[in-house]
């Protein structure tokens, strides 16, 4: 079973979803929770049997699909993808467990389980075609979730979401095909294996074009400024569960792909485009944080804040050193936990009042103290309070990028200021002051179902902030391999300078 653990992880939810059609609709939720829990424990088991000392991809599985074009079913995990997979299974479980939706619940759960398959698939795929297939497939369930269970503008939002991300990924597909062709030209055989591609040594101008092609696909997914506008609509219209999954996992696909594709395949281009991307990331951080401050809808605040944090992740990735990349991968997980939790929290109040306008609230701290407390903890995690999960990631990302540019880091560091501004302002508007609206006076505090989803997230947010080592170590190991590979492949002097030579520094120490 161990050697097929990844296939089981990918296809178990899909299988369960298909079986779900015959489950009676009253027991659908129990069924969904059970399946998601089993999947989550399977992923935990994957972590347990994952060998932190081992190098490269583990639990590789390879089955030929179209062998003359080198397309294989090829999956595997390393420290980078392992935790995002666990995060995905975790959030599906938490999401289903805390579902309060009543309309067509069974369909929703089945959709979510399909979505889980695609998410795990994306992060486990080592073949570009498999990766692409899961990447695109993930759009479909999300399209349904937004389009079927969303708010009044759901059709517009879901179509915008779909077309926007789809357009980006088409460019990515072109890039992939060209990569495979280059591999064919170079070595005489077609290959879509990511590992083969990482071993290819491309001329700098090829790297630049390919980097650009991949960049659009990833950047729209992240979403980077100025491709971010689909996100507020999607979040604004999506049901709570949709927003949670979207923010926690789907956005990570973009940043993960940067680490998996762009960095190891095009190290020179990464160095070359580092500063333009850093500028975009900084605009993303500051600009979206300011836009978040102007929002009137609490969900939009969280949506824009998640864009802002994604900027820090991007910055960390393009630090191109171990500290920065490790930090940004950790921040992906942290951001997943925190923004997922924040969206769940917004869902809680939306269920009660059916509005997300902050002006409708005020003084909730006295009516719903538990809710206010959890929201406060998560808000503090979001603004990067030390000993919460976000701080570790943000600190390492910024620390890493400081090596590349001092001034940019200083500007990007305003994230911690502007982040505090919009979050505190929003918190003040919602929770502080006196209760002015009659409807708010008798709001029920958070109930058990909701706590079930939120308490684990709170624990996670603090536990990983205090003791990030179990996660940080495997990530660090894989990232080191990545950086070594990048340094070896770097052709330009600039790239060799910017990407640290780990082998040399290791020798110096010993």
């Amino acid at each position: 079973m161990q050697e097929h653990i990844l296939s089981i992880l990918i296809f178990f939810p899909a299988l369960a979803a298909m079986l779900g059609f015959v489950v009676h609709k009253d027991s659908a939720k129990a069924y969904g929770v059970t399946v998601a829990a089993i999947e989550f424990f399977l992923s935990l088991w994957l972590w347990k049997i994952y060998d932190p000392a081992g190098s490269g991809m583990q639990f590789q599985e390879l089955a030929p699909l179209i062998s003359q074009f080198g397309i294989n079913y090829f999956v595997g995990v390393d420290g980078i993808s392992l935790f995002i997979i666990i995060l995905a299974t975790f959030f599906t479980m938490v999401g289903i467990a805390s579902l309060t939706e009543t309309r067509r619940l069974k369909d929703l759960i089945i959709t979510l389980l399909f979505l889980e398959m695609t998410m795990v698939g994306v992060f486990a795929a080592l073949d570009a075609i498999i990766f692409y297939v899961f990447w695109e497939l993930s759009l479909v369930p999300m399209l349904y979730i937004i389009g079927a269970w969303g708010g009044p503008l759901r059709i517009y939002a879901s179509i915008k979401f779909f077309l926007y991300t789809f357009t980006g990924s088409l460019l990515m597909l072109v890039g992939m095909l060209f990569m495979a062709f280059l591999h064919y030209k170079h070595g005489g055989v077609w290959s879509f294996s990511i590992l083969d591609w990482q071993a290819m040594n491309l001329p700098v101008n090829y790297q630049m074009w390919l980097f650009g092609a991949f960049f659009f696909g990833f950047a729209i997914k992240v979403p980077m400024f100025p491709f971010h506008t689909w996100l507020p609509y999607a979040h604004g219209q999506a049901p709570t569960i949709g927003s949670v999954i979207l923010a926690a996992i789907l956005l990570k696909m973009g940043t993960y792909a940067f680490v998996r594709f762009s960095l190891p395949m095009f190290p020179d281009a990464s160095v070359l485009f580092m500063f333009p991307i850093a500028v975009l990331a900084i605009i993303m951080i500051v600009y979206t944080a300011m836009v978040a401050y102007a929002q009137e809808d609490i969900k939009q605040v969280v949506a824009y804040s998640s864009v802002s944090h994604m900027g820090v992740i991007i910055l960390g990735i393009f630090a191109l050193n171990v500290e920065g990349i490790t930090g940004s991968i950790f921040l992906m997980i942290a951001h997943g936990v925190v923004s997922g939790a924040l969206f769940l929290l917004v869902g809680v109040i939306y269920d009660r009042r059916h509005t997300k306008l902050m002006s409708e609230f005020g003084g909730l701290a006295s009516v719903m103290p538990r809710y206010a407390t959890i929201f406060g903890i998560m808000m503090m995690a979001s603004v990067g309070m030390p000993l919460t999960i976000n701080f570790v990631g943000e600190f390492l990302s910024l620390l890493g990028f400081y090596k590349q540019s001092h001034a940019f880091t200083l500007v990007a560091g305003t994230a911690i200021i502007v982040g505090a501004i919009y979050m505190l302002a929003a918190y003040k508007k919602m929770f502080f002051g006196t209760v002015t609206k009659e409807e708010n006076k008798h709001l029920k505090d958070i109930n058990r179902t909701e706590l079930m989803g939120l308490i684990p997230l709170v624990i996670l947010a603090i536990w990983l902030g205090v003791y990030p080592k179990p996660i940080l170590e495997p990530i660090d190991k894989s990232v080191k391999e990545l950086v070594v590979l990048m340094h070896e492949k770097a052709r330009t002097v600039e790239a060799q300078k910017r990407i640290p030579d780990l082998t040399k520094s290791a020798q110096e120490v010993h």
Binding site: H228, M385, F395, L396, F432, V466, L472
Partner: protein
Amino acid sequence: MEIYLYIALFAPLVGSLFSALFGASPKTKVTGIVASGLLFVSFVSSSILLSYVLGGHTVHVEMMTWMATGDLYIPFGFVVDQVSVVMMMVVTIVSTVVHVYSIGYMDHDKGFNRFFSYLSAFVFSMMVLVMSDNFLGLFIGWEGVGLCSWLLIGFWYHKESATWAANEAFIMNRIADLAMLVGIFMLYWNLGSLQYDVVFANITTLPVVVITWIGIFLFIGAMGKSAQFPLHTWLADAMEGPTPVSALIHAATMVTAGVYLVVRANPIYSEIPNMGLFIASLGAFVALFAASMALVNRDMKRIIAYSTLSQLGYMFVAAGLGAYWVALFHLMAHAFFKALLFLGAGNVMHAMHDELDPFKMGGLRKVMKGTFIMMTLASVALAGIYPFAGFFSKDLILEVAFVDHHYIIYSVLLFTAMLTAFYSFRLVALIFHGEERYKLFGIHPHEAYKFMLIAMAPLLVLAIIAGAFKGSYYQLVTSLLPSGEYHVHSIATYWIMTIGTQLLVLAAIAFAYKKYSSWSSVPDGTSALEQSFGYKLLANQYYIPWFYEEVFSKTYRKLSHCLWKEIDLKIVDAMVDGIAGVVYKTGEKTHKIQNGNLSDMLRWMVIGLVILMLFAVGFSVLAMFAQAQVEFVRIYIGELVLGIGLVLVAVSVLLVTYHAASIRKTGKGR
């Protein structure tokens, strides 16, 4: 000894978590008692550690790894050495007193349990801050106290002003924290470690420019936490919090964290003397600046807050001039008498039903004898009268400035000392002497609980006798900090200086008493003094908060609104929608081509054929050029292809439009 270290550190955390368990439940005295008890335990452990450190040892533990990646390795490490143990003592003493006091002060408050949870959490953060053995650990505490400060300033969250002040404090501190983070980044990338011992051992290997930048960034961090100009406005607004909070956080401990940082990082600042001079000058400026604002203020707590600011200025003068032990000593002494002053003010507030204007009080010494004595003595200590604590610490700073030949700083500080004496006794005189103006407002003041007064007693004692520890303190800390006896060489000068200062201060006190002890009316803003420009300037805090609000807050608000409405929605998003719209409209417009008329289709076919062949010919011509090895064509082949392609597209578009026009014409004709 490690066990005591852990007890001292974690007892407050346990207290906080214990109280947090009852956070949403109705008030129980238990939380207050347990939290205070645990703090006392922490205090005892600190004392044991102090005696251990006095024996010449230090304790250094590494609890566990926090972050480790790449070359970065940051543990949760704690160190109890001569400097941190002093801070630990100050923190635990003041916080124990404040905790016990708060049991009485917060007696009638609904958020009693919550309050103790926050307050103990603050103490824990502060302990982390002072005990950490690396810069990032310090940063944890640094942010932790910021968080607790936010929680406690906004404790009465239903008050708009309180939550506003809380946010202001947090955000201003964040600005400074960013600089501090950058300083930490610089340390890491230059030295590869954030441990104090490693950093301080290797700091001299760096170029001076780098050290200067590190020093600047770390100091900006310190400026935020210690509310130095221009990041000072939050401190006065922070007085919205409950008074014990002001005593503990905004007088005794948190605001002195900046001074602690500079003292702790003394090996860095010793390398850059110019920076030190700048710090000292800024400190002197802030001392005077804050004292001037305290002169006219009509809010009891704000007056004391400005006084705190002013004293922080003193500490920075000492630290900037390299007299780190003096700075730390003043920090300690100041913590005692300023906390006492605040707690006394808290008693008065309680008695006066949260009235803060001293002009509406008067004559309270009859009903609040204990408080009156304590506040008077605290003010005496603050003014620096012999033999109270302030005399030993504050006059020492004056001496330092004098001995180092910084006469401008010296005279500024001397003048400030007079102002300090004046505003302190203006406050005392207005509150406790003169007519009982409160009767106009129908208030019936009463003395605070006995145990609150008893709780304050240790502070009173320390405020009086702290100066006596100077010798042993000096012995203790100079084993870690640069030593330096600051004695005026000539005995005569020394005596003239000391006695002169005392006389000036006494004169200021006398003036204050004379002017305010028989005050009889409540000023209503019509007197000539209140109309004068100088008064208005001071009363409005030099219009700096107004300036910040108008220039920064409003701009930020407007800018962000504009970014959202004008740029995000109207440009970025509209661009995307525009592209989609163009595609859609093109489809709408051109679907007429598919009118099913075979004849038209044939014509389109010919047009398409022409366009495609134009492309083919264009490309082959280019290929020919490339083959002919025309250098520029080879270089600009991409651009050429693009250009010719564009021209071809333009031609085809022209053709299409022309044709479409002709189709429309025939359509009309039909």
